[in-house]
């Protein structure tokens, strides 16, 4: 005869089960449930593929299981917000990817990421990782992240358009202006770009500032160690105005979405773009990849520098799996793991590049070994200052502000930022 469950006994059993479940859960956790890590990144689905394969391989060879969560296409404007929400919402990843400079700095200043000084010392990472890129993930003399990508920004151009206008790769800034003039005369748009969102015009301006101010002064300006209201900065803004007025930048550049520029170069709508090594992956899909080449924008200064940035991995302090996360970092910075990831611009020293697949990026790796770089300005500056900076640049390009007024406005913006930080 089946045993009947009355209402009272059902409630008693349910209540006991509910009360006991956390205890059972805790016991099972202590009993050795496998630790699993969650890595948060912003890779596209295509970029995430080799990472997922490498992480699966890591697990298969006895490492911790790692789940890769990605937010494709979120970019620097949205990803930090998502990361912040996850950390503050109690759903922190165990490891996350982030850009360096002032995009990572708020998380460091807020005490949300692990200090890795001891880990660096114990693992000898200073000898393995590119120093400049480690600096971009450091704060107040301490290291908080492990750089994965060492990205350099240069000019990528079409050799066929240069040949058509009878110009060669410029070796000085004056020669670059001459190239621009010849291209315009030949009916070709010299430089492609887009001012929507601000950051792409900054790519041009940071180069012009390096030209006008030189490396030492440029570095001082980026950290606010000297006044922006000075002749060299006025000259840099005057050059930007010239690039706009002479149509070396596209007409109406401020209204163009910068994500179009790669397609426009591939489609023959212009001769040059400021871009990084990732562009080579797009060239591979072009009708004739052989027409594309790259060069370091000439500055006329010694040392010759170009802009760059880093992307790296950090461990949030909220993770309960710090040791496992460190073990994963140690695995990821191994040259053979980097090779497996197929990076064309690894921040790990001595990682061989597939020169058949990425011949131009390989050249950039050599240049990075010989030349220093300075941090791109939208990462050198905190976002609110970068916004003010772009506002000034757009006013100069529109003729609403003279180069002299722009230099003074930048000094005011820098002063305001220093006030906020105080």
């Amino acid at each position: 005869m089946p045993h009947a469950i009355n209402r009272r006994s059902f409630l008693v059993v349910s209540g006991l089960s509910l009360a006991g479940s956390p205890i059972l859960s805790a016991c099972s956790d202590r009993a050795g449930a496998a630790v699993s890590l969650r890595m948060l990144t912003y890779d596209t689905i295509k970029q995430a593929k080799p990472w997922r394969a490498a992480l699966a391989q890591y697990h298969a060879s006895g490492g911790t299981q790692v789940r890769l969560d990605t937010l494709p296409g979120s970019g620097a404007a949205l990803f930090p917000g998502k990361l912040r929400t996850e950390i503050l919402g109690g759903h922190s990843p165990d490891i996350f990817r982030i850009w360096g400079g002032e995009l990572a700095a708020p998380f460091i200043r807020a005490g949300q990421v692990e200090n890795l000084d001891t880990v660096y010392a114990n693992n000898g990472w200073d000898a393995v990782l590119r120093t400049r890129n480690v600096e971009y993930l450091s704060h107040a003399g301490s290291k908080y992240g492990v750089p994965i990508n060492a990205t350099a920004l240069g000019i990528w151009y079409r050799k066929d358009f240069f040949a058509r206008c009878g110009v060669d790769v410029p070796r000085s800034y004056d020669e670059l202006e001459h190239v621009n003039e010849k291209l315009v005369r030949g009916g070709i748009q010299p430089v492609l770009g887009g001012g929507k969102y601000g950051w792409d015009v900054m790519r041009t301006f940071e180069y012009l500032l390096e030209v006008a101010a030189g490396p030492a002064l440029h570095d001082q300006l980026l950290v606010g160690a000297t006044s922006w209201n000075r002749p060299e900065v006025v000259d840099a803004f005057a050059l930007l105005k010239k690039w706009g007025d002479q149509r070396w930048l596209p007409e109406g550049v401020l209204g163009i979405d910068p994500t179009q520029k790669q397609d426009m170069l591939l489609g023959g709508r212009g001769a040059m773009i400021f871009d990084n090594q990732a562009f080579e992956q797009e060239i591979a899909d072009a009708d004739d990849p052989s027409v594309f080449d790259t060069f370091i924008p000439p500055t006329g200064h010694n040392p010759l520098r170009f802009s760059g940035y880093t992307e790296g991995l950090m461990i949030p302090r909220a993770t309960p799996h710090r040791d496992e996360a460190i073990a994963l970092l140690a695995h990821l910075v191994r040259p053979d793991t980097q090779k497996e990831l197929g990076s064309a611009y690894s921040a790990v020293r001595g990682v061989p590049i597939d020169t058949t697949k990425y011949p131009l990026s390989a050249r950039w790796t050599q240049w990075q070994a010989r030349h220093d770089n300075y941090l791109i300005q939208d990462q050198a500056f905190p976002p609110i200052l970068a916004n003010a900076y772009f506002d000034v640049q757009s006013r100069v390009l529109q003729g609403d502000q003279s180069p002299r007024e722009a230099a003074a406005a930048m000094e005011r913006a820098m002063g305001k930022w220093k006030g906020i930080m105080r």
Binding site: R84, G195, K196, Y197, L254, G255, N387, F390, V392, S394
Partner: protein, 308 residues
Amino acid sequence: MTAVQNAPEVRTHPPRPKRKGNIGSSSSPWLFAAPGLLVYAAFLVYPALRSAWLSLTSWDGISATKSFVGLENYRAMLGDPVVHTAVLNNLLWIVVTIAVPMVVGLLLAVSLDSSVFARPLLRTVFYAPAVLPLVSVGTIWTWLYDPTNGAVNEALRDIGLGAFAQSWFGDSTTAVWAAMVPACWVRSGFPLLLYLAALQNIPRELYESAQVDGASAWQRFRRITLPSLRSTHYIVAALSVIEAVKVFDLVYAMTNGGPGNSTQVLGTWMFFNVFQFNQAGYGAAIAVLATAVTLAIGIPYVWKQTKD
């Protein structure tokens, strides 16, 4: 006097005594409303109060601690030129995106009201933009305005007005106006529907007698149609003002607040401060300002609706 009136009162059951602690009739409406109120309090009232509290703090949005700064964020807003630009843009947005959709919606409604034949089809056609997600609308119009490949410039060139072709979002003087065109396009469908419904409630006899009295079409519109739509004007205007103060999606998708900060509105400047500039306290103060403006307009509207 009827037998019914004289009949003694018959009570079959004695009145039920009130039980101690019984849920009386005065509290039962609250019980019925409780689930909704709970959700409202959790997802609207609490976040709003929390934002108001945050607006009195200096918080980067990441740190565990916040420091109380009183009204400092509100004082800073007074000296922030971008807030001034944003307020002006919001005011401009309110005027244009109320006036244009109201006039267009009214004209379309009057036209459709008299044309019974194609009314369902045309009503759907004109209302269709209103159901599109605003980010999609922004993306579509960004492409239409593209300075090199956009259909707007192409159309201008095709009709011999190539001199007007330009980078619509690349110039501070045109960007905010260009951004308002899609807003008007999207918002004309809503007044159309309300006006159309209201027009159908105006008694036809009024028009017939006016016609018999020799009133022209314009006189009938001015003396009968417009006064009869007074309450609809009010609804459309109040809801449009609230929409215009809240505007975010279109500006964010089309101009991202640029060039520079020339097209910032309170919604986008609040977003940038909270989510990109790590100034959550200051961003919350901007949000409180926008909410206060919305409430100042919304409360009289709700009060009038309740009264009606």
